[in-house]
Structure formats: C-alpha cells, structure tokens
C-alpha cells in the first residue's frame, strides 16, 4: 500500500488538502460538523487505548473512506499523531485514503476462487468498467477491488457487490448485475459520488 503514490507519500498526504484535485470532501462539511461526528464516534468508547483501529473503522464507515479532516480531529482529540494514523491507514488493506465509488465490487481472489477462475473475473470486470483493480470509475459509480478470501469458499468464485455475496459468479452474471445497478441508478439518481454512504 505504501508504494501506491510515487514520491514521498507522507509529504504528499500532509501538504495537499482534500478539497483540491479529487474534489472529494463536500465543501459544506464544515470542521464543526466533522468534530461533532468524530466526538459522537469517540463517545462509543470508554477508552481510546486499544480501540484506535475500531474508531478508524467507524470513521471509514461514516465517510466511506478516511478523509483527512476527521483524521485531524481524531488526532487532536486523542493525542495520536497524524503520522501514526497515516501508518495505520496505509498498512491495513481495509482502510482507504481515497474516496471509493458508490458501488463497491470486491472480487474474492482466495485460493478456492483462484482455482475456479477468479483471475478471469478480474480481467473481465476491468474491461467492463474500464478501470484497473484498485481503482474507481471516473463517474465515481464503481470501485473494483480484489480481496483475499471472504470466507464463502464453497460458493467459489465469489464476488461481493455492495456487501452482497454473489456465488458461482461468471463474467456473464457479473455484466448482468452491473447493468442492473446502472439501470437502477438511472431511474433513481441519488447524489453522485457516494460520500457519506453507509455500506
């Protein structure tokens, strides 16, 4: 994960703000509101020590990724340094510092899925969505991730779409599902980039 950004990722992270470039943080999300949200999450815990990863999980669930501002608030409130939070956010695969698409597609590439054709599913979805594994489509509609074993091996190959398991997946069944999701989005357009979505 650390080598995802080409040059000096830590500097890159600290000296850019969320609002430029990717245009991810909604401008109306003021610091006060973020503080309120982070405090609310912190109130679930009697002590911070030992629970940092759980807290970061909750932040990611709330914003759908780990935006910088809430992490700054978290650092202020708990005394952990931004460096520490950054190290955790980049070490663990589950965390993302970049916004993710409205629909998250996770292709399981566990052993059972691998021998039953997961690599082909990855190829096919990369082609279908026009992105590489780990990326998000430009319209912020789909993110594609290969994950290591979701523990539903007896139904291999398995794909999770927005947390729902699709067993015995084939390129055909996936294309069908993507089209269905696209159609649903067309009929009920719901505010674009998926920020603040609860998975």
């Amino acid at each position: 994960m650390i080598h995802r950004l080409a040059v000096n990722p830590i500097l890159f992270y600290f000296f850019t703000s969320d609002s430029n470039g990717t245009g991810t943080m909604n401008d109306t999300l003021q610091r006060e509101q973020i503080e309120k949200q982070v405090d609310e999450i912190l109130s679930h815990y009697t002590e911070v020590q030992g629970n940092l990863i759980s807290i970061m999980h909750e932040i990611q669930t709330l914003y759908h990724y780990l935006p910088k501002e809430p992490l700054r608030v978290l650092a202020d409130r708990t005394g952990f340094t931004m460096q520490r939070l950054y190290s955790i956010a980049t070490f663990y695969n589950h965390f993302s510092l970049e916004p993710r698409g409205k629909h998250e597609v996770h292709i399981c590439t566990g052993t059972a899925c691998h021998v039953k054709g997961a690599p082909r599913l990855v190829d096919e979805l990369e082609r279908e969505l026009g992105i590489k594994e780990g990326q998000t489509t430009e319209d912020m509609n789909f993110s594609l991730h290969a994950v290591r074993c979701v523990g539903a091996c007896s139904l291999a190959p398995v794909v999770l779409v927005d947390g729902i398991t699709l067993g015995g997946a084939t390129p055909k069944s996936l294309t069908k599902l993507l089209n269905k999701l696209r159609k649903e989005d067309e009929t009920e357009p719901s505010g674009g980039n998926g920020n603040g979505k609860q998975p």
Binding site: N93, R148, S154
Partner: protein, 612 residues
C-alpha cells in the same frame, strides 16, 4: 443442570422448539447467507403468517417456528432447510424463496415431503465419515439465542471448571488431553497455559485469534457465526486457568456478521452472569471485548496481532520473549485460536481420556477443515485426526466433479504446500503433513484437478505473501518479490533452468532468515510444488508449454473445423472482436487480437473451441 438459575434459563429462550409442532431449521452460516438464507427465512415467515401457523388451531393442530442455525456443513447445497416434526427430520437443499409455499403447503400442511427437493445420497455420504464434536452445536443452536446453547449443555463445562476444579487442575486436564493449538503450529495448549500462569505479574491477558486470514479457509468464521458461545465458554475457562481477568477476541474486519453475533453473545453472557464479576459465584472475574482487524494477513502472527491490539501497525517482533512472558502492553498474554477454545468446554465436560480416544496418539481430537476447490461436496467438515486425504476428498467430498482427475490437495494456505495424488493415503495430522513439506495450518483444504497449473498456484501464493509481507525484514520483503518475478517468468515462458535453482536457493534463505512465520513459510508452496511437480515447471521451461493449459502466454484458443457450426455465438461474445466468420461458416480466432479470456470456450454449445 444448565448454568444460571431457572429464571435465567427461561429468559434466554425467545423461542422454544418444544412448544411448536414443526421446527423449520434454516442454515444462516456463511454459505447459507451468501446463498440467500435471509430471503428464504422471510419467505417462511410470510407463509407462516399467511396460513396462521404461529399457533395451532383446532381444525389444524400444527404450529411452526423458525430456528436460525449456524453452518450445517454442506455449503455447496445451501440454502439447507430442515423440517423437524419431533424426531423426524426432512432436509431440503438449494431452497429458494419461491419453493417455500410448496414446502409449507405440501409438506407441513399436507404431510407429503417434496421428494424432488430433498437432499440425496451425497448428503448422507458427506456426513457419514465425519465425527462432529465442535460442529454438533453449530447446525443446531441459534447463534443469537443463548437458550438454545444451554439446551445442548452449554456453559456446563465452564461451571464445572470454575466450581469443581482449581486453575491448576484445569490446566492439568487440558495438558493431559494433549489438545494442540488449532491455529496451525500445533503447540500443546496446556503447556502454553501453564507458562502464562507461571509468568510473573498480576495482570494477564487472554486473546482469541480470530484473524482467519488463510485464503480458502472459513472454519473460524463458521464457528464464531454458528456457535459464538462455545468460544466464549472456552475463553472463560482459559481465563480462569491462567489467571486472566481480561480477554479479547481479535476478529478480522472481513467478518462483520461474526462481529455482530459475538457482540450479541457477549451481551447475553453478561446478562446471565457468565461474563463479568464473580462468575457462577466462584469469585473468578472475566471480561471480554472485541478487537477489530483491518485486513492484514500478518496479524494472524501472535506478536503482530498484539501490536495491532496496541493501536499500531501489525509488525511481528523477534521472539523471545514469548508472549506468555511479555505480550499485550508488556503483560503475560496467552493467545489461542478460535477452534482451540471451542474444544476446551467439551474436554472439561467429557474428560481428557475421552478426548484422547479420538484421533491419533500424537494429535488427539478432531479437526475442522474447509473442503473447497475442485471437489463435489464443498463445505465445512469435521473429521478425527489421522483420516487420510483420500478418505476426505473421495468419501466426504465425493471426489472431483465433471469426470476430471484429482491432481493435488493444498493444505495450510499460503504457508502450506501441495500434496500430490500419489500421497493421498497420508493420514492428516500435524506430523505427517509437515513431513511432506506442507502444514496442517488452520484447516483450509483446497482440492485441485488436472485443470490447475501448479506453477500458477505457486505464483498465486507467492503474490499473496508478497502483498501481505509487512515489509519489516529483508528476506521476506525482497525474497517474496524476487520469487514472484521468477515464477512470472516461468509462467510466461521466459524461464530457464537457472530459475529453478534460484527459486530453491532463495526459498532456503527465506526459511532460515525471516523474522516471523510468514516469511519462513512463504516458500513452502514453491518448494513443495518443485518437489512433487517438477515436471510441470520443466514443461514450462523447456517445452514452453503449460500442461494444465492455464498460463495465458503459453496457450492458444482454437476452433475445431469439424465441430464449428458457424452459429456466431462466440463471435458476438468475444469482447475483443478477435473472432471472424460469417453465419454458417467456419469461425476463426485471430491470435494477435485474442487475449485468451476463454469466454468463447464458455459460450460454445458444440465444444468446438479448445485450448492448445
């Protein structure tokens, strides 16, 4: 006697199976839910509502209740539904919501089981050779209802341990049972407990390792989701034995349902006084909390797991000191796997001698395996230690489907190895698997057939280890990287004999020089496939040929002139427009445009497309 007062036992039961005439048991294990168990349950509820089957009425003396149970084993047939009328059980397979009205009307109301949807002989074969000790509860109790766990003798073991034995006696029983850690290494649990008990310091911790990261394994998930109380009960006993008052269950974030069910189970256990202060009036205290992982395989290693519990990145450290001397926050800490803890209450209840009578002399008891891959009956199984691989794959698993031949069985995940067909009669226990260059691991068992390329499999595992290496020590960080590159070369037909020598040398260096188990065992998949499937490597190198026809660079897709009817199905399906040919004329694949995705092979109804 179930633990707790009668009133406590009462309140634990929101649903009493004996109060209804028909119990509908639906599998809500990992496989069941993925196959749509929740929709099936909703359909049953709607039908029960529609027919007014909640209570018996005079003209129709029949009432129904739905019981959600954990993994029933044969996940390939999910959703599995048992219709229980007294002792009479009828099991349906592949149940879909649309089938529910018929089951209710024809079977429950009409008394005629729907024969075509019932489980067949495979289901019996699958269960016949198994010995279910841990899984016995899994498919019977409702994971979200402690009352159903009491009914199968739940918390009796903890009660006995805390009220009738001293901590030393408990450790003695577990030591005599020769229970070995089920996380992979097989270290005797009793010895570990005794070391933590002996360690200096008043504050000690107990951790349950539920960071089941091995791809192809879901035993711990099934246990946590199917019978969370058996793990909690095992931890209460272990906490008492080693003198820990605080325990943690470290669960990987990929298992949200396990977390949810554990939290629910904690609340129930606290409510019944099975966690907290003065458990059973014994004076012993024990608290449990959940610690969440966040997707890092290396956190299955004990010291990395502890580092993760301490709000840091999961990097292992050098041992000694062992965690029993200095673990979480520098305190003595005992870490065991989910399955190990689940064994403990049963050992206490039935005795060390009884436990030792199951399995082999050096590895007593049973072991859970997730039997997956190219095998007919995929699912979760429990067998006594010492059963041979052939028995597991052929008799329980029903063999390889589609008339293909078995090639190898992969055990132990990325740290394990591939065991070839010739060695299928090996008994499965810690020693035998290790002697073959594989390991028992946590219990993933992936069956591979003639269509699996062993070089590709080795590359797959090395890629996994490369991605999951914490990056701390050089042999693992760089070794996995170089190994992947060498294997990629071989798969792409660029391999030379020197590649094999380098792989072997690197593998030995990594085994000797890595800091933790991940790096030490990362070369296993390569070394074991080199040992048993060297000819496949050599075919890739000398003949530039992939015998299993998997490695894309070494295969071509062709269309059989005799068989092609010119139906244009493959032409339309090809995403790269690599197939040419008019209707009713022979189709031809343009090899330059072809990316070898294999879609044409799937869609062709005349078997005209083949790999070469």
């Amino acid at each position: 006697m179930a633990p707790g007062t009668a009133a406590q036992r009462e309140s634990g039961r929101t649903f009493r199976p004996e109060n209804v005439d028909v119990v509908i048991r639906v599998c809500v294990g990992p496989g069941g839910i993925a196959a749509g168990a929740m929709d099936v349950i909703a359909a049953f509820e709607a039908e029960i509502e529609r027919h007014g089957l909640h209570t018996a009425v005079e003209e129709r003396p029949c009432s129904c209740g739905i019981l959600k149970v954990g993994c029933k084993g044969l996940c390939a047939r999910d959703v599995l539904v048992d219709i229980m009328q007294g002792d009479h059980i009828v099991t349906y397979q592949y149940v879909k919501p649309a089938m529910v009205p018929t089951i209710i009307e024809q079977h429950i109301l009409g008394g005629e089981p729907v024969e075509k949807w019932r489980t067949d002989d495979d289901y019996d074969h699958f269960h016949r050779r198994q010995e279910k000790i841990l899984l016995k509860q899994c498919g019977v109790v409702d994971p979200e209802n402690i009352g159903t766990y009491f009914e199968v003798g739940g918390y009796k073991g903890a009660r006995e341990a805390l009220l009738q034995h001293t901590p030393e006696e408990v450790i003695d029983i577990v030591t005599r049972s020769q229970l070995r850690g089920r996380g992979g290494a097989g270290f005797p649990a009793g010895v570990k407990w005794a070391a933590t008990r002996r360690a200096r310091g008043n504050l000690k911790y107990l951790i349950c390792n539920a960071d089941e990261g091995d791809p192809g394994a879901f035993m711990d998930r099934a246990l946590l989701e199917g019978s969370p109380h058996s793990v909690i009960e095992g931890m209460v006993i272990a906490g008492y034995a080693i003198g820990a008052v605080q325990g943690y269950i470290y669960v990987r974030a990929e298992y949200p349902l396990a977390v949810k069910r554990l939290r629910h189970a904690f609340a129930e256990a606290y409510e019944h006084g099975l966690l907290g202060k003065n458990i059973f009036g014994s004076g012993a205290d024990f608290d449990l909390e959940i610690r969440l992982g966040a997707g890092a395989f290396v956190c299955g290693e004990a010291t990395a797991l502890i580092s993760s519990c301490e709000d840091r990145i999961g990097t292992p450290r050098v041992k000694p000191p062992r965690t029993a001397a200095s673990g979480l926050w520098g305190r003595p800490t005992n870490i065991n796997n989910v399955e190990t803890f689940a064994n403990v209450p049963i050992i206490i209840r039935r005795g060390a001698e009884w436990y030792r009578s199951i399995g082999t002399e050096a590895s007593p008891g049973t072991k859970l395996f997730s039997l997956v891959g190219k095998v007919k009956n995929t699912g979760l199984i429990e067998v006594p230690m010492g059963m041979t691989l052939r028995e597991i794959v052929e008799e329980i698993g029903g063999g390889v489907p589609d008339g293909k031949t078995l090639k190898a069985v992969q055990t132990g995940g990325p740290s394990g190895g591939c065991i070839p067909l010739e060695l299928m009669d090996t008994p499965v226990d810690f020693e035998h698997l290790q002697a073959l260059g594989s390991i028992m691991g946590s219990g993933g068992m992936v069956v591979m057939d003639e269509d699996s390329c062993m070089v590709d499999v080795a590359r797959y595992f090395l890629e996994f280890c490369r991605d999951e290496s914490c990056g701390q020590c050089t042999p693992c960080r760089d070794g996995t990287r170089v190994m992947v590159r060498l294997l990629e070369d071989i798969c792409a037909g660029r391999g030379t004999p020197e590649h094999l020598e380098r792989l072997e040398a690197l593998g030995k260096a990594m085994e000797a020089g890595s800091l933790c188990g991940l790096g030490e065992s990362a070369p296993n998949p390569v070394l074991s496939t080199l040992r048993y499937f060297r000819d496949e490597y050599e075919a890739h190198i000398y003949e530039k040929r992939c015998p299993a026809k998997v490695c894309k660079e070494l295969i071509t897709f062709c269309i059989d002139e005799e068989k092609c009817t010119g139906c244009v199905v493959c032409k339309r399906a090809c995403p790269h427009e690599a197939i040419s040919g008019e209707k009713k004329q022979l189709h031809v694949i343009d090899q330059d445009a072809c990316v070898r995705c294999g879609i044409c092979l799937d869609v062709c109804r005349f078997d005209a497309v083949y790999k070469e």
